[in-house]
Subunit: 294 residues, 2 copies
């Protein structure tokens, strides 16, 4: 049992916080919209009124919020002083590697450790604790927070070294690869359909032989069944934000990525059509619509 602060109770944050409570940890939780935190009280969570109130001297606080600006706003002077010497900020959001590196060095001035631990999991996988965690930062704090990843959402933990931003680079790559995989499946399935090949048979063959990973299996089924809107597990607007970060990171490091440009355009198109209820797999509608289908 450990005392933990948890900030950000969105689609992912909520099930992770709930898991930590169920595992017996004491949680102080903070969410900008207080309503969303309410149901956790039944599990024993203490609701607090500011990010700094979630922190204890030398303790651990997790943040899981929507973007770079939100993390920067939380990790202000007040917050860092509250965490203080030996405290650890476990930053689970998908943010820019550069922001992570900056925050890490800013935290050091207050004696606070910054551990990057972006979440590789859709909400249902996090809830079932079969997600993947990737961590980067200093060795001792990484060791100290492992229990939290295991109790919160992760089946596997991958340590990618001391540089704070490394885990974020890997998270961005992962999401870029997922988005690109959706596009290549979409183009493939459309070509199949327009040439009289049974698309379901093609999906079955490909995802049981060459492309057996969960990305192809799960998103492939969603594309096959045209499950694009309704109750998005990962919104197109969030996907777009992640590919924004990929291109921004590519831009700063002079890395031409034509495929990233393509999926970026696809996500822009989803949002240009006002589909705010779309899952990011709706990027597949680009290839489908271009081909005159549906």
């Amino acid at each position: 049992m450990q005392k933990i602060g948890f900030i950000g109770l969105g689609n992912l944050g909520f099930p992770i916080a709930a898991n930590l409570l169920k595992a017996g940890h004491q949680l102080k939780v903070y969410n900008r919209t207080r309503e969303k935190a309410k149901p956790l009280e039944k599990l024993g969570a203490i609701l607090v009124d500011s990010p700094a109130d979630a922190a204890e001297k030398g303790g651990i606080v997790c943040t899981l919020v929507s973007d770079d600006a939100a993390v920067r706003e939380i990790a202000n002077e007040q917050f860092l002083q509250a965490l203080g010497q030996g405290g650890i900020h476990v930053s689970m959001s998908t943010i820019s590697p550069d922001t992570a590196n900056e925050l890490a060095s800013g935290h050091k001035q207050y004696g606070v450790h910054y551990v990057a631990a972006p979440v590789f999991a859709r909400p249902e996988a996090a809830e079932a604790k079969v997600g993947n965690a990737v961590i980067s930062g200093d060795a001792a704090p990484k060791e100290r927070i492992r229990f939290l990843l295991e109790d919160g959402f992760a089946k596997n933990i991958f340590d990618v070294g001391p540089k704070a931003g490394s885990a974020n680079v890997l998270k961005l790559i992962g999401n870029f690869m997922i988005a690109s995989s959706m596009e290549l499946m979409a183009e493939s399935f459309v070509l199949a359909e327009k040439n009289g090949l049974d698309v379901k048979a093609a999906y079955e063959m490909l995802t049981t032989t060459l492309f057996t990973g969960p990305v192809f299996r799960n998103y492939g089924a969603m594309i096959l069944n045209r499950e694009f809107v309704g109750n998005p597990a990962f919104k197109a607007s969030l996907g777009l934000k992640d590919i924004d970060l990929v291109l921004e990171t590519a831009r700063r490091s002079y890395t031409p990525m034509p495929m990233a440009n393509l999926v970026h355009q696809r996500l822009l198109t989803v949002l240009s059509k006002g589909r705010r209820d779309a899952d990011w797999v709706a990027l597949a509608t680009g290839a489908i619509n271009d081909a005159g289908l549906k």
Copy 2:
């Protein structure tokens, strides 16, 4: 034991023919360059002097050659008459679905069945009989030639229906998906390298969680280790031919495929640099060179 004709003893044809001989079948083999067929004599093959000589009335002949033109040249009147009523042409080459459909109806005039059975396997997988076969065509001849796929190279056989070209559409989609996967890994690994993330750690994480299929595992390792040239299992020039067919099929069916255009350009670039000894995974050098690496 069956009498079979086998035409085309390239990188894939040779190990498949050898497997059929080892399984106890009688094989008449033909190859344009007779020298390449010679070693099969030791295994009991009978070398013949023309494609038609490989055929027997009502028998089975496999062809596995480099392109549409080569299949058309083989399947001439003389050949079809030699195969005759009830004969089966098992067409294993990666060719255009339209060509397959045309050939199938042309064969019918001679009473010959056309079964499309493109090979999903690199040569070493074919040799080890762990490849995948996809078949399309009429039901009875498909049933009659299953043994040949199992004895020749295939662990799994996927039947995609009666339309001759369907198996070819799936083969093209499969190769397009492989080529695109190489590109997305190349862009990802380059972004990792330029941002200080250990690329090997990224590869391990991604290919043991989200992207577990053999395409990511095997080609990913080749990209990681820069294994682009030397002894290509599948030449860049053949990969280019396959993506040509993808774009041609997309063109005829009005299917815009921007990702296919991208990998096509990548393969053209490999060949523009005169790398005739390059494996098609060398398409990854596009992203690597663009980023100023190596």
